[in-house]
Amino acid sequence: MMAARDAREESTVTSGPPSLRLIGGRNGRGMSTIDMSIVQRAKRGDRAAFAALVDFYYARSLRFAVHMLGNGQDAEEAVQDTFVRVHGALHRYDEFDRFESWLFRILANRCRTMMGREARRSRVLVYGDLAQDRGTPPDVEAIVWREEIQAALAALPNAQREAFLLRHVEGLEYEEMGRITGAGVSALKMRVKRACEFLRLRLAEVERA
């Protein structure tokens, strides 16, 4: 397994000169957001700024893709494709739209496309690939809990899983989710509600077992 860097809010770009240091802020729901000047620089063709965007959002994008696709390899591919598409479309990015929403719209579309492909294969759960401290003994209970959560998430209809992740894990507002998914706010609230009900029921059973 190749070396991995930790996801972080503070990021230093080392993939091309010149180095760029950036510190993100947080939106109202506690999620990291990026300094818009970085986005503007990337839009003007600044390679280092674009690299900073990728650095900043890669881990979150990968997390969303892993949860949506349930397969680390597909998730990596989806995220890589997404950033290449983001680069190609940056000149069309409207700065009145929040960058994060725009990015997740492209990412969610990419995941949906890949889910069609994935449906032809068995779903391979990869939570074992995710963040684990390899230096400490495995917490079996924690691993089982993670796997149960992933299994429950995988059992959700795609639209419910997407809405749940965008709302509760990515911390987006319903209006933003509407722009990402193309669904109305009421429909999205219903999807989140049903997803919560399903997950609560399913995992309560696991705990009782």
Binding site: M2, D6, S15, Y58, L62, Q80, V84, L130, I149, S186
Partner: protein, 207 residues
């Protein structure tokens, strides 16, 4: 509509807390994105060129000869004397010639087109004794950081690889430890107009 469990549901909170764990990101993730972006741009550039120009065979031969001469001039790669020392790090060498600059070996070809297309073995060299890995990325390998790793000489710390490159002008860079964009210290450089980044230039000529 009441938004169920926005807060206050312990079970959902525990699930969300687990799902918020960020996955590890491969060290070369950003470099791979940039390499793919570069490859896409070059691909677009090539197709635009192809649409814009229709070059006759005599003109193509003329351009090829001019490019070859320009390449030798830029690199100073025309050997003035067989015993002339070799500039280190310049990416050029025929098969079997380590760090030597000679006229690249081009397989015999029946026509000019074949001559233009025949790949030439080029040796890429970088002195980086403290590096854990070195790869070369360029327009000849789609800027793919995983495709062309260099081998390390354990005694000198010099990394090298032989790569098939088609005749013509190429741009490239080394990727050290999967993330650090490193120019060839001994090759000419050019600035990418779109990104402002700098790349090393390689001219591969033909007989």
């Amino acid at each position: 509509m009441h938004d169920i469990n926005e807060e206050g549901d312990e079970m959902i909170s525990r699930i969300v807390a687990e799902l918020k764990t960020l996955p590890p990101v491969p060290a070369d993730a950003t470099a791979r994105v940039l390499a793919r972006v570069d490859a896409a741009r070059r691909s677009e550039g090539t197709s635009r060129f192809g649409r814009r120009f229709s070059i006759s065979l005599p003109a193509a031969i003329g351009y090829a000869v001019a490019a070859t001469l320009a390449g030798f001039l830029i690199r100073g790669a025309v050997p003035r004397h067989p015993s002339e020392p070799t500039p280190r790090g310049i990416a050029s060498a025929p098969v079997g010639e380590t760090l030597g600059i000679r006229t690249p070996i081009v397989p015999a070809a029946a026509n000019t087109r074949a001559l233009e297309e025949a790949p030439v073995k080029v040796q890429f060299v970088l002195e980086a004794p403290r590096a854990k890995s070195v790869t070369v990325v360029g327009d000849f390998n789609a800027w793919d950081g995983s495709r062309t790793p260099l081998d390390r000489d354990s005694t000198t710390g010099v990394w090298s690889a032989l790569v098939d490159v088609h005749p013509g002008r190429h741009v490239y860079a080394f990727l050290v430890d999967g993330k650090t964009w490193t120019l060839d210290p001994n090759a000419p450089r050019t600035k990418d107009l779109d990104y402002g980044t700098t790349q090393s230039v390689l001219m591969v000529g033909m007989r």
